[in-house]
């Protein structure tokens, strides 16, 4: 269990359940945190759970599932106000007990709550097409990551969700989920006495059972998919193969490359495609260092979608052939250094950072990280630019307005 002592005004109790990201268990892992935080053996329904949280000064649970390389990580975080500020000496005990109950105190799950969550998941799928951006993102991932776990949404496919049964979910919770690698992080002002209480109450962390893997399929010939729907814009998604991963020595150079390409308002994509050409409002690139890919995304003027697509492709090719300038690199370093320092004042970031460092056995200090960024040269970036290759293009557009 990791304790981070500081003077934030709130305290976070976090647990991270880690296992392999697999087709067979994906929907269980998506649904479980919702059920765990909605009721317990003692708080039998959502209403009682909500009342309890309100009584704890509006304390709240945040749960999510995410992918870290080949792992699926389910996080459940309870945030409460610092009991000293509200002068409530019972608050800490109540919060610790509630956190413990939510994780372990479930002999069974309420059938109605299970059916409710299942229904809402199905309805999310039924309305996916209404949310154009989310729809485009889902479809792009489906094509770009076809055959890979990333190609399936974290909630699983609609067909899998429909097949879900309460019995199987309970079995998974008891026989698999509770035996997952668990990492606990407590972030905030917590006394030594309470730390011991937490250590004793919550099950101890377990070591990882599987190796951490970051990989993606080899590059392939360009795949272009166009889809028409009713909308006023065109959404462009470009997936680039970029085999540089989190553990690689050139990781920091890759971060700066992505920053220069489309990571901030001074980036080439923002300045050229938006500011100079006026083709869009939003445009950015996103480097996924667990998968070794760069993805560009933009919502562009419908009548100029082909022009915009060509302009983006050309911009990336120009960057590959011409490299980046000293000034660009300097500014990207300043910007990214700021992002790192600024995140250290964010409690949620610190909680997550503590977990990731523990999980992946990262010992690099902030100073070492900043130093590594500072050392990146134009040549390092150029070396990586040569590894970029366009792999998938997905376009969703309002065909009727063409």
């Amino acid at each position: 269990m990791l304790f981070i002592q500081n003077d934030f005004k709130t305290i976070q109790f976090a647990v991270y359940f880690t296992d392999l990201d697999e087709d067979e268990t994906r929907m269980y892992r998506f649904l479980l945190p919702r059920l765990l935080t909605s009721h317990t053996n003692q708080l039998l329904n959502k209403t009682l759970m909500s009342e309890k949280l309100e009584d704890l000064y509006g304390a709240y649970f945040k749960s999510r599932v995410e992918r870290v390389g080949n792992f699926s990580v389910v996080s459940i975080i309870l945030t409460i106000v610092d009991p000293l500020i509200v002068e409530d000496d019972k608050l800490m005990d109540q919060a610790i007990n509630l956190f413990n109950q939510v994780l372990y105190d479930h002999d069974f799950f309420d059938k109605n709550l299970f059916l409710d969550e299942k229904r809402m998941l199905i309805e999310q799928w039924e309305t996916l097409h209404d949310k154009k951006r989310l729809y485009a993102q889902t479809k792009f991932y489906e094509h770009f990551f076809k055959g890979d776990a990333y190609g399936t949404p974290l909630s699983g496919n609609l067909a899998d969700i429909k097949k879900l049964s309460l019995h199987k979910l309970e079995k998974y919770y008891k026989e698999v989920f509770l035996k997952n690698t668990k990492k606990f992080v407590v972030n905030g002002r917590v006394s030594n006495e309470d730390q011991i209480k937490l250590e004793n109450m919550l099950a101890h962390d377990l070591e990882l059972k599987h190796p951490f893997i970051t990989s993606f399929r080899p590059a392939r010939s360009l795949l272009v998919i166009e889809e028409k729907t009713q909308m006023k814009q065109a959404i462009l998604k470009l997936g680039y193969h970029f085999p540089v991963f989190r553990e690689d020595e050139h990781y920091h150079a890759a971060i700066l490359l992505d920053t220069i390409l489309g990571g901030y308002p001074e980036s080439r994509l923002f300045q050229e495609i938006r500011e100079k050409e006026g083709l869009c409002y939003d445009i950015s690139s996103n480097y996924d260092f667990y998968k070794g890919v760069i993805m560009i995304s933009s919502g562009v003027d419908l009548t100029q979608k082909d022009k915009a697509l060509e302009a983006i492709k050309k911009l990336v090719l120009d960057m590959i052939s011409q490299g980046v300038t000293e000034e660009e690199l300097l500014h990207a370093k300043a910007y990214y250094t700021h992002q790192i320092k600024s995140s250290l004042d964010n409690q949620s970031f610190l909680t997550k950072r503590a977990f990731i460092r523990e999980l992946l056995q990262h010992n690099e200090t902030i100073e070492e990280r900043l130093c590594a960024l500072e050392k990146v040269t134009i040549e390092d970036v150029q070396l990586l630019l040569n590894m970029i290759s366009l792999d998938t293009i997905y376009v969703l557009h309002g065909g009727q307005n063409d």
Binding site: K9, S50, G58, Q233, H338, S342
Partner: protein
């Protein structure tokens, strides 16, 4: 420099008042802390469309405040965003109905960025070319929102509720109205509303108080002029709705229901206005929040899903509540919600729930104070509303159970607009 302390929350506030009327409010954080958040805000937003000057009334196109927000970043030597990025700080801006803010977050070069922020605001640079270019970018921003069926629905519902109040127009304006914006209009609005007398600078996080004091002393010497504050004029808005019911068939996955409750703004002090807004929010949470009997019933009867939300708007001379849900039983949900708000609610408003929500609101204030950006943003918002973020605790104490009942009584069936988008 005036100093105030709020021991309970371990917060201090320093206020610098310049001769030109500009105020600087500083919320320092002690080391170890890396980040400084700086925000320049103006009580000028999307609703300030018509204003009174000595020459009479001036009207501007819908979306003028938002357009101006975009164009303030244009500088004679290029884009201000690039300059901020070069300094290694993160700049942004936002326009709401009643306020425009320019901000940056820094962990280095804070004073240089502050100087540049004020320079950017003090040097307007509006040309035919850069204004026309921006029209294309803003058009894409508006179209992005128009591709979201919930935004489209919300815009439609507000038009069903308001006859003439500018709330009926989107903050960004319309694809047509932004085409009417000219450099001259932006310059006029800029001169009327962006002068130092109308400006609040909020600085939170890591600061050097002495350095800031010297900086603003010099700024005051360079900008001594005090400007008169202008008043926005609002057209008279009838109490009644424009349209009570609209049902349309759309390409959507599940039927969507939106209810708009038009409230009648009361003549009251700004402090009372903030209190009323809190009371209405509390009322709705007790009736339809996650711990309410009604919320449980709506889920049990499969009338709502996770998309259900309630939103309140309390602006100058326009107040409303909006409820939204995706549902497969749209008529039943409509009936249940309207009955709840106009008939059944009294029995569900328990004093116990009221007391519990008071604790929740205290907690929410602490959560807000824990995040630098939220704290500074809310500080500016409450300041422009004539209150203070730290007064919220006192206001909360003043709200009594009867206030909630009073707000409930102001919800009337004849002022509820219903919009349904049915699945084709």
């Amino acid at each position: 420099m005036i100093k105030k302390t709020f021991d309970r929350f371990n917060e201090s506030l320093y206020i610098i008042k310049l001769k030109n009327g500009m105020q600087i409010h500083i919320l320092p954080k002690e080391d170890p802390y890396f980040t400084t958040y700086v925000e320049a805000s103006f009580p000028f937003g999307a609703l300030d469309l018509t204003y009174k000057t000595e020459d009479g009334l001036t009207s501007t196109p819908y979306g003028a405040a938002h357009f101006l927000e975009h164009k303030i970043f244009a500088m004679p030597d290029g884009d201000a965003f690039s300059h901020f990025s070069a300094l290694g700080v993160d700049a942004n801006a936002m326009t709401s109905y009643s306020q425009t803010s320019y901000l940056f977050v820094a962990t280095q070069n804070m004073m240089s960025a502050l100087e540049y922020l004020l320079e950017m605001i003090d040097i307007p640079f509006f040309t035919e070319d850069n204004v026309n270019q921006e029209k294309r970018i803003i058009a894409e921003e508006l179209k992005m929102y128009l591709d979201d069926p919930n935004v489209v629905m919300h815009n439609q519902l507000i038009e069903m509720m308001y006859h003439s109040h500018p709330l009926k127009y989107d903050i960004g304006g319309t694809l047509e109205s932004i085409m009417d914006v000219t450099p001259e209009i932006l310059k006029d609005v800029y001169e009327k509303f962006y002068n130092p007398s109308n400006r609040l600078i909020t600085i939170a996080g890591k600061v050097d108080l002495k350095e800031l004091q010297t900086f603003f002393k010099n700024y005051d010497l360079k900008h001594p002029e005090k400007y008169k504050k202008l008043k926005t004029v609002y057209p008279k808005e009838p109490k009644r709705l424009v349209q009570k019911l609209a049902i349309e068939t759309k390409e959507v996955g599940i039927d969507k229901l939106m209810l708009g409750i038009k409230l009648s703004p009361k003549k009251s002090s700004q402090r009372d206005q903030v209190k009323r807004e809190m009371a209405v929010s509390m009322l709705l949470n007790i009736l339809l929040g996650p711990s309410s009997q009604m919320y449980a019933k709506l889920l049990e009867e499969k009338l709502i899903n996770q998309s259900f939300y309630i939103n309140t708007t309390f602006e100058k001379k326009a107040e409303n509540i909006v409820l939204f849900a995706e549902t497969k039983k749209v008529q039943k949900l409509k009936r249940v919600l309207i009955n709840l708000l106009t008939v059944d609610a009294v029995d569900l408003l328990t004093p116990e729930a009221f007391e519990r929500y008071k604790k929740v609101y205290l907690g929410q204030l602490i959560f807000a104070l824990n995040n630098l950006e939220t704290k500074a943003y809310l500080y500016g918002k409450y300041y422009h509303m004539g209150s203070s973020l730290f007064d919220v605790v006192d206001l909360l104490k003043e709200i009594i159970y009867e206030d909630i009942l009073l707000e409930l009584a102001s919800i009337q069936k004849k002022y509820i607009a219903v919009l349904i988008h049915k699945k084709a």
